[in-house]
Symmetry: C2
Subunit: 434 residues, 2 copies
């Protein structure tokens, strides 16, 4: 798969999005809020068309024999659409992420430095089947003053076209240009999007790990990393066994396909037997297949786990189990096989918990609760564009805050650097109220 150069048409469209985005970035808080509400109103007015378009996508998917799980994600009926529209209105009411003064410093008399939050510019979003993601991401983009170039999966193409038409009609009734949103429909265009550096400021892939890696390897534009979710739960020696089991079941079974579901259970050797005595029948009732190391097999786990299992995001009712001699071995396992997404410990020992929370280098480190809380809504961010497993911010669940950057503004009265280099003047570096 090679990345084609952008066509003149794509370059022109992207430049149009950029121009619209720059005007959008200068809109007031209230203008952007009203624009998102107008998008929600238009979605409501177009509900019948959107649901009908989705029906066509579903029929085509059935004809193509699309996998059941993908069909479920593709489906957008009236009630799912209504929920998505409610979500768009909630994004309108999130606090403005722009224009926040983060720094205010006198460098010298009459020379004042400020740092303000500003939009990124234009987002490039590449996602799979789910058409509801279009509404969520478009509303987050507009609320945060960013344009967006969206590319949905082929199987959702009719739904995406109908949704985007509604969103743009909503924007047409607002202070924001409809050109701030664009939908790419061909696969070639979506690949060429990766070469739009200078016009697109951030790529947000929402799809398989292979897609994310391909994108990272083929673009100079920063990518909001959203790779594997190999999450761990470590059950300590000092533990409330019933609570640990309840958490393990939730973290594995509440939504096994989610990236924040656990894939591996690490058991302290002194707790393993008692935990598995409780857990084996419970996992069996929940339909979870366990794959264990020799020690956990000796305690009743039926299948054997190999090295590959420790690295695998099963996205299914499968869980690997390993018995470890101590906390250090658990930490080493997480360091070696984890994806730095979210890892949890169940312990009643504060000192052990503290060591775990300080030592695990993941976006989320949890004590005595389910890894499934790693989510923008649950964190109170209102919505999310995705979860980032990369090290640099934005990290973990990414909401509006991850869609802004900042700009330094310096105002003087003829101040020149030579006066400071020569020692004629010197800096005061006095922080002023924010």
């Amino acid at each position: 798969m090679s990345v084609p150069d952008p066509s003149p048409e794509l370059l022109q469209r992207a430049a149009g999005v950029r121009t619209a985005a720059m005007a959008l970035g200068r809109c007031s808080d209230e203008q952007r809020r009203q624009a998102v509400l107008a998008m929600a109103d238009a979605l409501e007015r177009h509900a019948a068309q959107i649901v009908a378009a989705n029906q066509e996508d579903l029929q085509a998917a059935a004809a193509d024999g699309l996998a059941v799980a993908l069909v479920a994600r593709l489906k957008l009926d009236a009630s799912k659409l209504a929920a998505a529209i409610t979500g768009v209105r909630q994004v309108a009411d999130l606090p403005d992420p722009l224009g926040v003064r983060q720094l205010h410093r006198e460098l010298d008399q009459g020379l004042v430095l400020e740092r303000f939050s500003v939009p990124l510019g234009v987002l490039g979003v590449i996602f799979e089947a789910r058409p509801d993601a279009v509404m969520q991401i478009a509303s987050l983009a507009i609320r945060s003053g960013n344009g967006a170039i969206l590319k949905g999966g082929r199987e959702a193409s009719r739904s995406c076209v109908a949704i985007l038409a509604a969103l743009q009609q909503g924007l047409a009734a607002s202070a924001v240009s409809p050109d701030a949103l664009a939908l790419l429909t061909s696969r070639e265009e979506s690949l060429a999007l990766l070469k739009l550096d200078g016009l697109v400021d951030l790529i947000i892939p929402r799809g398989s790990n292979a897609l994310v890696r391909f994108i990272q390897d083929n673009t100079r534009i920063p990518v909001l990393g959203h790779a594997d979710g190999v999450c761990h739960l470590y059950v300590d020696r000092d533990v409330n066994l019933e609570q640990a089991l309840r958490i393990a079941l939730d973290a594995k079974t509440q939504y096994p396909a989610a990236c924040n579901a656990i894939e591996t259970l690490l058991l302290h050797q002194d707790a393993a037997a008692a935990f598995l005595t409780l857990a084996l029948p419970a996992f069996e009732r929940a339909g979870v297949t366990l794959r264990g190391d020799a020690a956990s097999q000796a305690l009743g786990v039926l299948e054997a786990a190999d090295d590959e299992d420790w690295r695998t995001e099963f996205s299914d009712l499968l869980l690997s189990v390993r018995v470890v001699p101590d906390l250090q071995e658990a930490l080493e396992h997480i360091r070696r096989y984890g994806s730095r997404h979210t890892d949890a410990i169940c312990t009643t020992n504060d000192s052990t918990a503290e060591t775990f929370l300080r030592s695990v280098d993941s976006a989320g480190v949890y004590r005595n609760c389910s890894t499934r809380f790693a989510d923008g809504f649950r964190y109170g961010f209102g919505a999310e564009v995705g979860i980032s497993t990369q090290t640099l911010p934005p990290r973990g669940p990414v909401g509006l805050e991850g869609l802004v950057t900042y700009r330094y503004q310096l105002c003087g009265d003829g101040h020149i650097a030579a006066d400071y280099a020569s020692g004629l003047r010197s800096f005061t570096h006095r922080d002023l109220p924010l």
Copy 2:
């Protein structure tokens, strides 16, 4: 140029740096402060050896016929070394960037989310001749709890080896392992560094634009973007001409090779004649060659500028000049040819200034002062690892703050997601004191 896979030796060394860095990340503020002070002490003790090693590098450079500008950057005599050691001590005294609680929120009774600043992990630093950069970057890395793998230019190899030996001896007398710093000496190793994803968290290139682009194109690791500096000064119609000239001269001549020097002067047509009457003799006295569009040539600029000149970072006493009909045309020129580094306006008109400051999408937007202030020391950051021209944070001059990320910590008492999905419990999302 192709990027080789890391050798087993390099993988092992990098893993050693990572292990040391993780322990370093758990050191206290005071331990990291003392470690940096110990590095400064060791540099002082090894001053004679370091200066001697630099002498050897300088002799080899002379034999190889290295360009004068590069030789100047390579040179590290006793007084330059003493200044660098003072800089290391200043880094020790910067406020701790780690452990800052950025978020503190009750998600539900007994379920508390916190977000803390934590180190990135391991930095990969690739830089050209300047051996003093080793000391600055190494001290910033250790102060912020990060390990660093450093690769200096071949022409500075003896100096770098001597400096790193001193830094590691300093660390050996501290709570931080000397393995937190490593120096790569072969070109092949430095390329393979780009493939150490999972072991290196951020690449910081300090070199030519071509080097930065090559790195961006050949690594999955985030790169602290530090590409072209094509900075502009726009002289408005409403302007204090003497002040504007003083700023233009400083911004071009105070250090022409710096990325924050201006490359293009944009003149409002109503101010152009008066400005150039003052400016032409002043630039001539300062040794600056001007290249202008037709309108500025008609006003006395001797050489002609072509389209390529508008995009070029001259890094020399060369300045392109263009007359524009209004502010909008100036903004359009900056948008089209600029590198989003630092751009300035000279104007006495507050409304014009406001439009400029809000419309220019660069890391730095300045009014009535020289672009040469775009610098970590001048901003009061104490030191910098470089200036980033990318859109995502860290943007502009990057100090300690750019070398940290954050981690979410969630502590509960058996909380599971299913209870919220079912409606049995609901989130409070109540912010607590930071």
